[in-house]
């Protein structure tokens, strides 16, 4: 025999701790830890309600299993998004507003496939100079963006 007010109190406590965790953390992964605690409070409450005498359809434990599954799916996608964010911005600080938008569309470079540099050099000198500028910009962009990549390399 067990008094069900104890697990109910624990569920309330866990939910409060989870809310604090979500609000007090800046690191995105640690915010997720708070979310997990809230989900676990919900689970504990489901199990508690399911062990009341006369609970129908085994709803408590079954719904708990469902919530655990949904939580697994949720955290997979959330961590994937966090990893992408880290790769794009170099950090997962949620208070530093990250620039997740695309860069303004670069104009379509002429002669996309193959080796445009050598082929177009003789034909259009002016255009080629432009393109070399573009090249340098691109390189800088690519390096800046590539910098955090090694950490994310093993992600996928």
């Amino acid at each position: 025999m067990i008094h069900l007010s104890l697990p109910a109190a624990l569920a309330a406590l866990l939910a409060g701790i989870g809310v604090y965790g979500v609000l007090a953390r800046r690191n995105a992964v640690l915010v997720l830890i708070g979310v997990e605690l809230i989900l676990n409070a919900a689970n504990l409450l489901l199990v508690t309600a399911g062990s009341r005498p006369g609970a129908p359809l085994s709803a408590g434990p079954v719904l708990t299993l469902f919530v655990i599954t949904v939580a697994a799916a949720e955290i997979t996608v959330a961590l994937a998004i966090i990893l992408v964010m880290f790769r794009r911005t170099g950090g997962i600080d949620l208070t530093a507003v990250p620039d997740l938008t695309d860069e303004p569309d670069e104009p379509d470079e002429p002669g996309e496939p193959g080796e445009p540099g050598e082929a177009g050099a003789l034909d259009e000198p002016a255009d080629d100079r432009d393109r070399r500028d573009d090249d340098r910009d691109d390189d800088r962009d690519a390096e800046a963006r590539r910098e955090p990549a090694p950490a994310g390399e093993g992600a996928a």
């Binding site: 104890l6 866990l14 409450l45 062990s51 880290f86 950490a151």
Partner: protein
Amino acid sequence: MTTRDLVFTAVGVVTALSALLSVTTKQVVHAALWLLVSLGSLAGAYLVLGQELVGLVQLLVYVGAIVVLVLFALMLTRAPIGPHAEIDTPWWQRLAGALLGAATTALLASLLLPLFSGVTADLDAPTTTTPQVAQAVFGTWVWPFELLSVLLLVALIGAFAVSRLVLHRDAGDGAERRSTVTSGAQAGGRG
């Protein structure tokens, strides 16, 4: 106070304390490890409540998979080792968070405790045993159960697509002309 009450109180104190530590510690990796302790002892709480299946699934999924995923994410995002104040919001925001958390606890407790006061579960003759749970999953709840497998598939593909699409564009707009072969090989390797 019965024996089960005492055991549940002990397990519950461990759960609550480790949960509290996991949201307050200044060391990033310790937070994940305290979460591990909290979820594991919560599995113990399910056992005390007489739901062995839920407790074991909790151990398998939460402790075995989710915490490991969180640890991997921390490692991949270069979590700093050692105490680090940068992972917390400023003190006034933490104070507001603590107030809101306490308010949540107070609200839920004031709602739930009267609801469950005096209610006891006789675990020697439990209302739901594991065979009953199994029959319910594959009887009453079979369609939600099937939907869940679709959801897992969607999450799998979604996580894959999220991490891959951006990689593609990353390799596409900057480095495409210089090293088409290399970026192709990288994309293949990541796939």
